[in-house]
């Protein structure tokens, strides 16, 4: 079905909300081990596309193939169990649980047949991996935004995904936090997890992505390595507004 190295393939994806077509006939492929950036102006349909992949919404047309398996009709929990993790644009943590509990829930439910002891081990390992150890005792709503987003990433990582989809992980962060987040994304990729990320922070997207795809009004208008995208006249026109 799909070629060996394409872990996730979207083929002719269309999603309509009433009369509005949010995503229109979009096809893309995600290659194993890469960081693929998904960019586009506000309202371009990026998050809708994410939601369709993760099963949160069902695409009206087209198919998603994950490791050779068509996953269109699956619910998010099943898609998570297959190995596709995601975060949300506005962090959706469990507010009354401690940071550690937040991550532990991901470890406990993310894979079938997970034992409590194994989940505990995985939790500690994941927290150390994303560097949240010192926040163990802090109530989640009191943590800085960057750390709240990091909990989301940690919870998704604790489900042991093969692909992680990050929805605007760097929005609202200060420059120091952005560069930490970039390091984390690279670290995730180096650990063998393929990354698909929506991002508006250009500096980040241009320096860490292997390839970029661009959406505009729900349509895929460009695809290629960062340098090519940055110099693509069409992209500059619709997305960067011709200022660069």
């Amino acid at each position: 079905m799909s070629s060996f190295e394409n872990i996730l393939v979207g083929n002719g994806i269309t999603k309509r909300f009433g009369g509005m077509t949010a995503v229109s006939n979009v096809s893309f492929d995600l290659r194993k081990g890469e960081i693929l950036g998904l960019i586009g102006p506000n309202g371009a349909g990026k998050t809708t596309l994410f939601n369709c992949v993760s099963g949160f919404l069902k695409a009206d047309e087209g198919t998603f193939t994950f490791e050779g398996k068509v996953i269109n009709r699956f619910n998010p929990d099943k898609i998570c169990h297959l190995g596709l993790g995601r975060t949300f644009q506005a962090a959706k943590n469990f507010p009354d649980m401690s940071m550690r509990e937040n991550v532990r829930m991901g470890a406990l439910f993310g894979q079938r047949d997970m034992t409590y002891a194994e989940a505990e081990r995985l939790t500690d390992e994941t927290i150390a991996f994303v560097g949240l150890e010192k926040y163990a005792g802090v109530a989640v709503p009191d943590m800085p935004l960057a750390m709240q987003k990091r909990i989301e990433v940690a919870r998704a990582l604790a489900t042991k995904p093969k692909v992680i989809m990050l929805d605007e992980m760097m929005a609202g962060l200060n420059p120091a936090e952005v560069s930490e987040a970039m390091d984390l994304v690279r670290k995730v990729r180096d650990s063998g997890i393929t990354v698909l990320m929506i991002e508006h922070v250009m500096k980040a997207i241009m320096s860490i992505c292997d390839r970029i795809i661009v959406l505009h009004h729900g349509e895929l208008i460009a695809e290629g390595p960062p340098q090519e995208i940055a110099n693509n006249p069409h992209v500059i026109e619709v997305y960067l507004g011709g200022e660069v």
Binding site: F88, K92, F94, M97, S98, M105, F109, G110, Y116
Partner: protein
């Protein structure tokens, strides 16, 4: 087994909890032998409200889906007792009532738990009203009666039956709270989207939990109506029975299993006292309720708990999950 050990054995608090429940159970078993005729009946009602309240809190307190269907399941239990109570021993009817409530709860859950927030609440509210009307219609058209007589059982026997239902419900809920199932319910209440995306089958979990929380209501309905001896649709499906568990849980504090019990005990004792001594029951009761909600948002148990927490940890505020 691992779970039983975790909840009732592993820590000092777990052992105290196990001992306390066991001691209370044994003590209660002996009450009818030295008390008069009234205390067992009084305690059976107290435990009935405790059961309704903790089982309501198990689903609604955790998930945030406020159910007003308690009266429906409670009433179905009563009617089942009225219809088949003569043919079976009390224990069997109670078990069947629990199964009936579970089945109806499961069906209703499948239809309604796609609804979120207030729509779910309105539907469950309508369910009890619908059953009330349905039984009126059925009795009016087919049996041409108003209500039915119910086989009565000895108060002591009903007391034992309700005691067992209550203890079983309590132990089951304590175990489920610490299980994967209970944790997934908490996740749903905290953020349903996130829960789904970390691999929780939210629909199945919600439907199952709703059905489980319905079962004890059916069981105590079947038991208690046999102390009354008569049932009709207005008695079985009265909306107050849906609101009481909610109020008791708020009153006692919803975040802990023991909160609703504390709430239900105080609530019932207060109600009993006020009804016997004054005409101002509703007025006084309403005032107390408003004061509790305003002053103690976490209920009476919440106040006790945060006082203990303050002493132990130097600050108040609790983190759910791994406590």
């Amino acid at each position: 087994m691992e779970l039983v050990k975790k909840v009732f054995w592993e820590t000092k608090a777990a052992k105290i909890q196990a001992l306390a429940i066991l001691a209370a159970f044994v003590f209660m078993m002996f009450i009818p032998s030295f008390s008069g005729a009234y205390p067992p009946l009084f305690l059976a009602w107290v435990m009935t409200y405790c059961t309704l309240s903790i089982s309501w809190t198990f689903f609604s307190g955790k998930t945030g889906y406020i159910s007003l269907a308690t009266a429906a399941f409670y009433g179905l239990g009563m009617y089942l007792q009225a219809v088949i109570g003569r043919e079976f021993p009390l224990g069997v009817t109670i078990l069947l009532a629990a199964l009936l409530a579970f089945g109806v709860g499961f069906g209703i859950g499948l239809i309604t738990l796609r609804l979120r927030g207030i729509y779910f609440t309105i539907f469950t509210f309508g369910l009890a009203l619908f059953l009330n009307r349905f039984f009126h219609w059925y009795e009016g058209v087919f049996t041409r009666t108003k209500g039915r007589f119910v086989k009565t059982f000895d108060n002591d026997m009903v007391f034992y039956a309700v005691l067992i239902v209550f203890i079983v419900t309590l132990v089951a809920i304590l175990l489920m709270n610490k299980s994967r199932f209970g944790l997934s319910l908490t996740c749903i209440g905290q953020n349903e989207d996130s829960a789904q995306h970390i691999g929780v089958n939210t629909t199945l979990t919600k439907v199952l939990a709703f059905a489980i929380s319905a079962a004890p209501a059916g069981a105590v309905g079947a038991a208690m109506i046999s102390t009354v001896g008569y049932v009709d649709p207005d008695l079985a499906f009265r909306m107050l029975a849906s609101f009481f568990p909610v109020l008791m849980a708020i009153f006692g504090g919803m975040f802990s299993t023991y909160g609703p019990i504390v709430g239900a005990v105080i609530f019932y004792v207060l109600q009993d006292y006020l009804l016997r001594t004054t005409n101002l029951y509703m007025v006084i009761f309403g005032t107390v309720m408003v004061v509790v909600v305003l002053v103690l948002p976490k209920g009476i148990f919440g106040l006790i708990d945060s006082m203990i927490a303050k002493k132990q940890r130097g600050y108040s505020g609790e983190v759910i999950g791994d406590v």
